[in-house]
Symmetry: C5
Subunit: 305 residues, 5 copies
Amino acid sequence: MMSGRVKEILGYYDSENVGVRSNLARMLNHGRLAGTGRMVILPVDQGFEHGPARSFAPNPPAYNPLYHFELAIAAGCNAYAAPLGFLEAGAAQFAGEIPLILKLNNHDLLLDEHDPISAVTGSVKDALRLGCGAVGFTIYPGSAVRREMYQELQKIAEEAKQFGLAVVVWSYPRGSGISKEGETALDVVAYAAQIAAQLGANIVKVKLPSAHLEQAEAKKVYAATRVPIEPLAERVRHVVQSCFDGRRILIFSGGAREEDEALIEEVRGIRAGGGFGSIIGRNSFQRPRAEAIALLNRIMEIYAA
Amino acid sequence: MMSGRVKEILGYYDSENVGVRSNLARMLNHGRLAGTGRMVILPVDQGFEHGPARSFAPNPPAYNPLYHFELAIAAGCNAYAAPLGFLEAGAAQFAGEIPLILKLNNHDLLLDEHDPISAVTGSVKDALRLGCGAVGFTIYPGSAVRREMYQELQKIAEEAKQFGLAVVVWSYPRGSGISKEGETALDVVAYAAQIAAQLGANIVKVKLPSAHLEQAEAKKVYAATRVPIEPLAERVRHVVQSCFDGRRILIFSGGAREEDEALIEEVRGIRAGGGFGSIIGRNSFQRPRAEAIALLNRIMEIYAA
Amino acid sequence: MMSGRVKEILGYYDSENVGVRSNLARMLNHGRLAGTGRMVILPVDQGFEHGPARSFAPNPPAYNPLYHFELAIAAGCNAYAAPLGFLEAGAAQFAGEIPLILKLNNHDLLLDEHDPISAVTGSVKDALRLGCGAVGFTIYPGSAVRREMYQELQKIAEEAKQFGLAVVVWSYPRGSGISKEGETALDVVAYAAQIAAQLGANIVKVKLPSAHLEQAEAKKVYAATRVPIEPLAERVRHVVQSCFDGRRILIFSGGAREEDEALIEEVRGIRAGGGFGSIIGRNSFQRPRAEAIALLNRIMEIYAA
Amino acid sequence: MMSGRVKEILGYYDSENVGVRSNLARMLNHGRLAGTGRMVILPVDQGFEHGPARSFAPNPPAYNPLYHFELAIAAGCNAYAAPLGFLEAGAAQFAGEIPLILKLNNHDLLLDEHDPISAVTGSVKDALRLGCGAVGFTIYPGSAVRREMYQELQKIAEEAKQFGLAVVVWSYPRGSGISKEGETALDVVAYAAQIAAQLGANIVKVKLPSAHLEQAEAKKVYAATRVPIEPLAERVRHVVQSCFDGRRILIFSGGAREEDEALIEEVRGIRAGGGFGSIIGRNSFQRPRAEAIALLNRIMEIYAA
Amino acid sequence: MMSGRVKEILGYYDSENVGVRSNLARMLNHGRLAGTGRMVILPVDQGFEHGPARSFAPNPPAYNPLYHFELAIAAGCNAYAAPLGFLEAGAAQFAGEIPLILKLNNHDLLLDEHDPISAVTGSVKDALRLGCGAVGFTIYPGSAVRREMYQELQKIAEEAKQFGLAVVVWSYPRGSGISKEGETALDVVAYAAQIAAQLGANIVKVKLPSAHLEQAEAKKVYAATRVPIEPLAERVRHVVQSCFDGRRILIFSGGAREEDEALIEEVRGIRAGGGFGSIIGRNSFQRPRAEAIALLNRIMEIYAA
């Protein structure tokens, strides 16, 4: 039976069709966090985004696309997200075992642009033929070419929802409009979450915000209205609020591989601030399988508590 | 029964199909100004346009998308306009309670371009599935990329009207062709209203014009033909005239939050000059709900008189 | 019954379908010049092209879109041409009273580019729903972006003809390839007429050519082959010849408002040189209605003689 | 009955559908060279490409589009090629009298770009409604925008062949990659022929190659493999070989008007080298009709011999 | 009966439809290497890529497109790959004799860009009408315009697979992001293989990697994780691993014509490192037919061993 919290969350999406809400429910009701309204997702797009050796040489079994399906299932993640090739390589073998998110655009680092834009590398039709429950899409607010990304997302989201697929948006500010430090500034991350939600995202993924404030106009308002910016939980709370006052599933990414205790502390902050969960990529698949499962279990315990 | 003034206004649109005229009638016959031929619309796109904290921190309940539906209904506005995400968040819950306008393009300030162009962030099909009566679209005449905007609007307006949706155009001159002061110059605002109407807009929204004249060729004509430019009511009258001699619904935006008495004075000028009404965003949702309703009521009283 | 001259002209279009030929016939057989094979058309796109005050302040009733329908009908013009908004505003009320030409692209002067290109502001479908008999399209040969215009025209002309609409092309050389004086040079105007006809235009509209020759290669040929360039009638004859040797309807625009006698003299030159007629915009609607009708009547008398 | 040579040539196209092969047969079996496997085509796109006076003032009857149909028929050409307008002007009157090639892209000289690209000025559907047997398309290999041309040709060729139309490609190297002298260099012309054939052209048209070699890498190979470059017949033979070893119809253009004897000498070279024929434009329509027919007859006699 | 190794390989593609798997099986079960799980493919796109004389003058019979079909069949290759024109020239005559791969994009050297992008020169529909079993597509990772290539490939691959065609991707790093030496650097080649596989390629083709490492971030990882880079077999093994751990068919190109013994040594390295085979173009068709067949036989013997 569906938990009260999941019912409540699905209620936020009452303008979506039954297909979209069913796929959101499938993710919320899958794995170790089923029914809690929290989510931990395994994303593996780093082979494309950073290259195979940088991604998988630290733990060579991860070169094999089947490894990640198995890891996500064994660890009890809510969903597994990857680009077309990685999903094609295992979707048949693991059909029905875990909700899949087809990441529809990707960017490589064989050239590093100042104003990046991902290439569309798959389609809604691909997601359907591979049995996915959602599509994923990355936008870079602040990039001089963000308009093209927003418009690609608009078209993809419209098509995906027509077919009952949920829409997950990675919203990572970058480019001409934003300083390096500003990419994770509190005001900028909150703005990025708002944009993704306004664009129709069902699930929004942002980076953990720092205490930095980037935009002059925003700074004045944060000061005048005394938005709390410490500790991390307060910043998470502000981003959750900025994402339709908690009425959109908002999850945070862990970023580069880091010390376990730091990561755990972040998860505690996300939970305390009302975040819906985490996406844990490099911190899971770049270590031996048993260690990865142990870490994911620790994280899920915190969210489940 | 339909009032004479509403019938007259609908007569201006006798080349449109029944669907478009019905949706115009729904807006003209809704809320406190029903039947008067005047309109006050609540627009809430600032979360996207300026960021969530700058928009909602002054009145935190406004972070919640449901807040604005409820405010527009309680205040008796003719319609509520917002981007895709905000409408998706409440359209089911408030279905049928107030005419909705889906704002189909939006622009964020994580990058501020000299020649801005909004991204298309929703579709006519989205407007239909959410039960909207109209679509909204922003153009920036004077921008080096205005052609692209006009052509996007052309396609959207054509599709919207086929499906019986009304078309509301925000026409805000900006960019390479216009000085900062020129953005609200009388000649430029009048020109912007004309362009929107020629592009097929059913409802045109412009900023209140100042007494400044921007274009050298226009200045000569204003002088030679003695177009009156004082007081505000005369300027409003000139813009109404420039918008097909009053045969298109033309409403004015309030702009940034300002002193109530100044705002009320502007509304009196709009009414006296033959304007059809106002769009009141930040001046309503950035203050406590009760104050907002009181202010909106004062404004509507003026229009209803 | 159809006159011999109209039958002859329709014979030039014997590769077009019945719909196109019927709409050409409707225009040739309408108004005071019906059956003569000559045409005077009222075009009112200046509200968009130059702004409302510059266009209509000299004769304020002209702000009203209905004014122009009525003027064109009263004066006995062959057709009335305007952008989408202006036609939408009166097409229902004046349905069937005069052939309408929907001008499908327009350009405003809130920014003045060196290599201009008009925006597509309406569609063939719009022309059909508004009961038009033709579509109009402006190209600027000599502009660095002319290719885009030609290709837009190609698509629009193909679609229009499929639906039986005639195609009217305004061919105005401008941009990087042409000096200011060259815009009306005889060789350039003749070339512009040829291009429009090759692009499939049924009716070609150009500016009256001056005696200037612009292109070095052309100058040699004009000298060597002794093309006569004086008086105006000879230049008109050369442009008519350049427009498929008179086998395409070619009309000339009057340009800015000017002295009546100069204008009349030009009309005499057009007639003497074998031109098919005139487009008279600012010279008609920028003066009081009675004066405009009187002037148009004088012009039509010359063509009818 | 079909000649052996025509059957052999049609055999080269055995992967094309019956429609395409039938239209190739129609051209090969029409006019004075019917059945010889040789072709002389009259192309008249100079009105667009160079302007009307430069093209037709030397022989004023040529201003009339009907003139060229009649000339091509009277002279016994295999086909007549022209842009949309010129074909629209006579296709009905001369229906069925000579195979027509609709030239689908054209370029004017009101602006002369360093990296030119023609505009698409007609469609496959136009070719069908006008009863054409083939479409023509110009590419400029060496231009910085050649990719756009190749891709336009790809789409047009695919559509044309589906409808049974043959595809004729004018392959004229120009632009950033090529020096002026290189435009007719042997290696470059051979390369241009290869590219057109690889793009799916049924008939390839190139300029006559000079003895110049343009590309450093190619020069080495020509020297090492001792490709003969004198006399002209050898160069023709090399280009024929480069065009699928003679398994594609390859014809040569005459270029600007020149002395008759030089032209005749070139035709002899083309024939001796195994070329399939000539396109003769300015050398025919820029002289009086009788002289043109006499010249074309001399040329055809050489090919027929 | 299908061999165990072929069954195993087909198992990697169990998310593809029966059509795609059947076409992969056809290639794996054709020619001298049938059933071994290894492949040698004859590609002949050099006429387009380098020009006809540079490609075919060393062995003139190769100017004839039929030559290559016959060579590939006689030598027992698994498949023959070529651009549209070359396949059109022989597909009917050699129908059913060897699996064909239509190379859908191509690039010529009449202009050599710093950031190259091939033109799309054929379609999936062309591949179907010519009886091909696969389409081929080249991407240049590292090029500033790679996004456009990836997106073209995405669309083509999606369409091809829908129709049961296999997708072969040539992944050749070039352009602004990569030094000349970096084009064959181990980290770059491995990254290129990963990208092609993530884009949905069924068969990936890369250049043989050198021992050079290009990207600073990658270098650190190769050092830290001790990826072996000598001898060649180890580098091949690393690229195979980077291409989904051997779960995608990965073949290597031979490049420019070279000494036979060096080539044979490379083939031994490919085999030892677990590569699936070779594409042998210039090293086969630029020598007399008998020598080419002898060399291809030596190569196949190594793979078959």
